[in-house]
Subunit: 295 residues, 2 copies
């Protein structure tokens, strides 16, 4: 089975209109934060942010499958000593547009931007807002299970008396049931906080998020051969991860330099792939053994 990776040069507000409806399993993207990347993306003013984004999210709602998921990586910046409210306003507006606001994951950044100010600390977290078309969507939780950490061990060690007691006394109790399940388990489900470092040492393409971020959500919300889209592709982290993991993907990028860079990588990769015998080794379909580190 061949994996398609379509890299498109253009403004996603226009490009998305040409895509058919109900074809995408996962949208994972990080649009330019309001006024943030002025030199590269043109910097949307905070007051115009919602109006700018809503037409795009409307198209995204159209192309997403009913069982699909939209993960939006965003963080409001500080203006005049206050956090801007455009993210909250965007969530409220998107709900009116028909989106379900299912969850908000947190990306806890290990290495946040340095600096010191008299009235605030460094910002070391970003939002990963999960939208869906309904309460029912595909989620493959077991694909992102992580090794049992220190917490579960000590909890089992210390509380096992009480918990086992509870397990016996209350048969229907979900808690007791869980504990007995854990006893023979070496992996646990993660939480809604992802603790990752940013990749800030890459000189050529400054990726805004580490590849582990899209990888995690691709594993969680798609299966091999599903389709992922990133309408604000940037350096192509989402698409390259999709490709490695055997997912088809679409990337839309408004700046030619970024577009060209990603295209070149994909094309070089194609050449490697079509050498005999190498075809499937690099897709890494079931090679999903890395883990998100948790403290």
């Amino acid at each position: 089975m061949r994996v398609k990776t379509d890299i498109i040069f253009g403004d996603c507000a226009e490009v998305l209109c040409h895509l058919p409806e109900n074809v995408v399993d996962l949208i994972f993207t990080s649009p330019s934060y309001a006024d943030q990347r002025k030199k590269t993306y043109g910097g949307i003013h905070p007051d115009k942010y919602v109006d700018w984004f809503l037409p795009i999210s409307k198209e995204l709602l159209r192309i997403l499958k009913p069982t699909g998921t939209f993960i939006l990586n965003i963080k409001e910046r500080v203006i005049n000593g206050e956090r801007s409210t455009y993210v909250m306003e965007l969530i409220l507006a998107m709900r009116k547009q028909g989106w379900f606001w299912t969850e908000e994951f947190i990306w806890h950044k290990k290495n946040s931007y340095p600096g010191k100010w008299p009235n605030r600390f460094r910002d070391s977290w970003e939002r990963l807002i999960q939208f869906n078309k309904s309460k029912k969507f595909n989620m493959y939780q077991e694909k992102v299970m992580i090794p049992v950490g220190g917490w579960a061990k000590t909890r089992l060690k210390n509380l096992s008396d009480v918990d086992k007691l509870r397990d016996k006394s209350k048969v229907g109790s979900g808690f007791g049931k869980n504990v007995s399940n854990w006893l023979n388990r070496d992996k646990v489900y993660p939480t809604n906080v992802l603790h990752l470092a940013t990749e800030c040492n890459n000189k050529n393409h400054s990726a805004t998020f580490p590849k582990e971020l899209p990888e995690w959500f691709i594993k969680l919300f798609t299966r091999p051969n599903d389709t992922v889209i990133d309408p604000f592709m940037g350096s192509g982290t989402t698409n390259l991860a999709s490709r490695r993991m055997g997912r088809n993907s679409i990337g839309i990028e408004i700046l030619y330099d970024y577009y060209k860079g990603v295209r070149d990588q994909i094309e070089a990769d194609e050449l490697v792939l079509f050498e005999p015998e190498k075809k499937y080794e690099t897709t890494g379909l079931n090679n999903e053994c890395y883990r998100v580190r948790r403290e």
Copy 2:
């Protein structure tokens, strides 16, 4: 120096009206989440939450000093597969009321409660929303500095020769100056993510947050002898922390059992110190107590 701890039995919506304006340095509280503790607090319906809270936050705005801070610990619950929007709506409404939304800290819970659901993971973070009366407020950042990471250690060890030289040669240089500052520094500033465990060992009253949480903000936003208030006292974690740290505090609680429990602790604490002067009655107002120990 005496430290006062006033524990008041009543509904904060009414009690707060009787407090004078501009007297409080820090408000730290965790109101009952919408519809969450139905049996104990009466469970505010999510749709009514903002309307219920706004009169209270209006009084809080009145009693807070211009340099003071309001930290609101809250998290929206899931209803019908979606996160409720009342927290976002509350922030927007409180801004209209005159509050500055300065920052949103994250409490990243190390050990979140176990459980499994088909379409979401365990929720292991809560919001700590910081409001102020203006851009200018008291913040004692050095009080919450934390041990340094790897970088500064190696840097100080290895580069001190070169840097000291540079320090001598270039007097006005910011770099040289910084290095000399670093030489005696083994601590760095924290970020806006607090990574703390929940307290699961409290058997009598289930505290909603660990004592480290109010402690951190009390250190950050108040000095000894300042005044802290928790209008939804619960098991009194905020007030007991304030008391230990030499801050005056006020706690308001609508449920008699909680009120009584905290009062008993405070009184017992006081008896230890001033046994002959047992003069307090059960009225609760102006219940003066004495400081036990400093940080």
